[in-house]
C-alpha cells in the first residue's frame, strides 16, 4: 500500500510532447551530478589518454597532443538511468573514429571496449556504439572546459546509451575480444543500457 502525498509532484516532472524523450524519463534543466567516488583532480600536465589493444598500447596522447587531434562539436540529448534527461547539450571533443585513426589503426581491432577512469570507475561498450560518430572523448561542455564534477578534464560521451556509459574522468580505452561488465554493470545495471528499450537493469 502506498500513500500518495498531497501537493507533492517532485522536481523532474516535465515530459514533452512526442517521442523525443525515452520511456520513463523526465526532462530537467539542471545538470545533476552523480558519482561513484570523489572527484579526481588530475593536473593537465599529468593527464594522458591511452588506447590499448588487449595488452599492448595502440596510442597515447598528452593533453597537448590530444588538443591537436581533430575536434568535433555535437549537440545531443542525454539520458540518466535515474530518470532525468537533458535536452540539447553541446559538447566538443575527439571522436573515437579520430582516435582510432590517430593511433594508426585501419579499423577497431576487437568488438568490445572497456573504459578506465581516474578513481577506478569502469564501463563496457560494444565498439560499434562508439564508431561512426556515435562516441567521443569530450573535453568541453557548452563552450567551456568540462568541469571536474561533470567529468573534466575529459569524459567519454555516448549519448544514445544511459549516461553511466559516458564515463567521467576517462584515461584509458581498452579493446577486448569479449564483453565484460564494468562498475555498475557488475552491480545489476544493464550490460548495454539502451534508454529507448528502457534497459536500466540486468534482465530488462
Amino acid at each position: 500500500m502506498t500513500t500518495t502525498t498531497r501537493g507533492f509532484s517532485g522536481r523532474r516532472r516535465a515530459r514533452p510532447e512526442g517521442n523525443r524523450v525515452p520511456p520513463g524519463q523526465f526532462v530537467t534543466d539542471d545538470f545533476p551530478v552523480l558519482s561513484a567516488g570523489p572527484t579526481p583532480r588530475t593536473p593537465l600536465e599529468k593527464w594522458t589518454l591511452a588506447l590499448q589493444d588487449g595488452g599492448s598500447l595502440a596510442g597515447r596522447w598528452t593533453w597537448e597532443e590530444f588538443q591537436s587531434l581533430p575536434q568535433t562539436e555535437i549537440t545531443v540529448d542525454i539520458h540518466c538511468v535515474t530518470k532525468w534527461s537533458k535536452l540539447g547539450t553541446k559538447w566538443k571533443g575527439v571522436t573515437i573514429d579520430h582516435l582510432i585513426e590517430a593511433a594508426g589503426l585501419d579499423e577497431p581491432p576487437e568488438p568490445y571496449l572497456m573504459a578506465y577512469c581516474d578513481g577506478g570507475y569502469t564501463t563496457n561498450l560494444p565498439v560499434e556504439d562508439l564508431i561512426g560518430g556515435k562516441g567521443m572523448v569530450a573535453t568541453h561542455y557548452d563552450g567551456e572546459p568540462l568541469e571536474p564534477e561533470h567529468g573534466g578534464p575529459a569524459r567519454l560521451l555516448v549519448p544514445h546509451l544511459y549516461f553511466w556509459k559516458s564515463a567521467k574522468w576517462v584515461r584509458r580505452l581498452r579493446f577486448m575480444e569479449h564483453d565484460e561488465p564494468g562498475f555498475w554493470e557488475s552491480l545489476g545495471y544493464h550490460i548495454y543500457g539502451d534508454p529507448w528499450r528502457e534497459q536500466r537493469y540486468d534482465g530488462d
Binding site: T3, T5, G7, S9, R11, R13, P32, V33, T82
Partner: protein, 264 residues
C-alpha cells in the same frame, strides 16, 4: 539484552527484520527558523527509537513518482509523538515539501528508526560533548531532550553543546536551548556565528568551530567524554580532525555528515 538492543529490534509482527514503510500523518507544524520546520507526526505502530537515530522519508506523487531522503528524529525516545525537524534546501526535492508544504492531515511514508551508530543514551553515563553545525543540531537536540527527560540520571551526565549557525535567525531551538541551559543541572550551551556579525551583547563565539573553540567550549579530553559531531561534511571533518589533535579518543568520536547530494 540491553535497553539499546531492545529498542533496535523491530516489534513482533513487523514482518521479519526488514524495516517496513509506515504511513505517517502530520499532526502539527512549527516554524523553527526561516528555513527549518518541525513536523509532529502520528505514526501508528512506531516501535520507538534512540536519541540520534533517523528515518527515511518517502513521498509519492499522484502519478507514482517517488522521492526518498533521510531526516533526523528531533523528539526524544519516550515522546508521545515522533518529530522531525527539516531544513529546506534550495533546489531540493523532498525538503521543500516537508518544510514548506506539509500541513496537518497530510500523509506520507517513513521507515525507521535507522542507525545504531550515532545514538546516545543516559545509560552511557560518560560526559557528553555535542558539536553541531546548522541543522546538524537536530539529532543532538534529541539527545539533550532525552537527557532532560531522564531526571536525576540525566542531570548526572555532564553535557555541553557547541553549535554553529550562520546567523542568530538560523539558530534552531534557540529558546529551548536557552531554557535548558538555565535549568538546574542543565547542559552548557555555547553558540557561534559563522556568517553574521554578532549582535550587541552576544555571549557566544563568532567564528567557525576550530581547535581553540573546541578547547574553550568542549568537555576536556581528560574527562573522556562521548563526543557527537553532526553537520555538513567540511565542518564535520574539520571538527573531527581538530578533536583528535586535541587528544580526544578517536573511538569515542561519532560523526554524522549530511547536506545536499547531487540531486538535492
Amino acid at each position: 539484552m540491553t535497553a539499546t538492543e531492545a529498542a533496535l529490534r523491530p516489534p513482533a509482527g513487523a514482518g521479519g527484520r526488514r524495516l517496513a514503510w509506515r504511513p505517517a500523518e502530520v499532526v502539527e507544524r512549527m516554524a523553527e527558523t526561516r528555513r527549518a520546520t518541525t513536523l509532529v507526526l502520528d505514526v501508528p505502530g512506531w516501535p520507538g527509537h534512540l536519541a540520534g537515530q533517523h528515518v527515511d522519508v518517502r513521498l509519492t506523487a499522484e502519478d507514482g513518482y517517488q522521492a526518498q531522503r533521510s531526516y533526523s528524529i528531533a523528539s526524544p525516545p519516550k515522546a508521545p509523538r515522533l518529530a522531525l525537524t527539516v531544513e529546506r534546501l534550495e533546489g531540493g526535492e523532498v525538503s521543500p515539501w516537508l518544510a514548506g508544504e506539509a500541513r496537518p492531515g497530510d500523509r506520507f511514508e517513513l521507515r525507521g528508526p535507522i542507525g545504531g551508530y550515532f545514538t546516545w543514551s543516559v545509560a552511557m553515563s560518560r560526559p557528553l560533548m555535542l558539536v553541531a553545525g546548522g541543522s546538524g543540531v537536530v539529532p543532538l537536540m534529541a539527545m539533550l531532550r532525552h537527557r532532560a527527560a531522564s531526571g536525576d540520571a540525566g542531570r548526572a551526565v555532564h553535557a555541553r553543546l557547541l553549535y554553529s549557525a550562520r546567523a542568530v535567525a538560523d539558530i534552531i531551538y534557540h529558546q529551548e536551548l536557552q531554557r535548558l541551559s538555565v535549568e538546574p543541572g542543565g547542559p552548557e550551551i555555547n553558540l557561534t556565528l559563522t556568517r553574521e556579525r554578532p549582535p550587541d551583547g552576544w555571549q557566544g563565539f563568532d567564528r567557525r568551530i576550530d581547535a581553540p573553540t573546541l578547547a574553550a567550549a568542549g568537555v576536556a579530553p581528560e574527562m573522556d567524554p562521548d563526543v557527537y559531531v553532526c553537520g555538513p561534511t567540511p565542518m564535520v571533518e574539520a571538527v573531527a580532525n581538530a578533536l583528535v589533535g586535541l587528544g580526544y579518543e578517536p573511538a569515542r568520536i561519532r560523526t554524522e555528515r549530511f547536506g545536499p547530494t547531487g540531486e538535492g
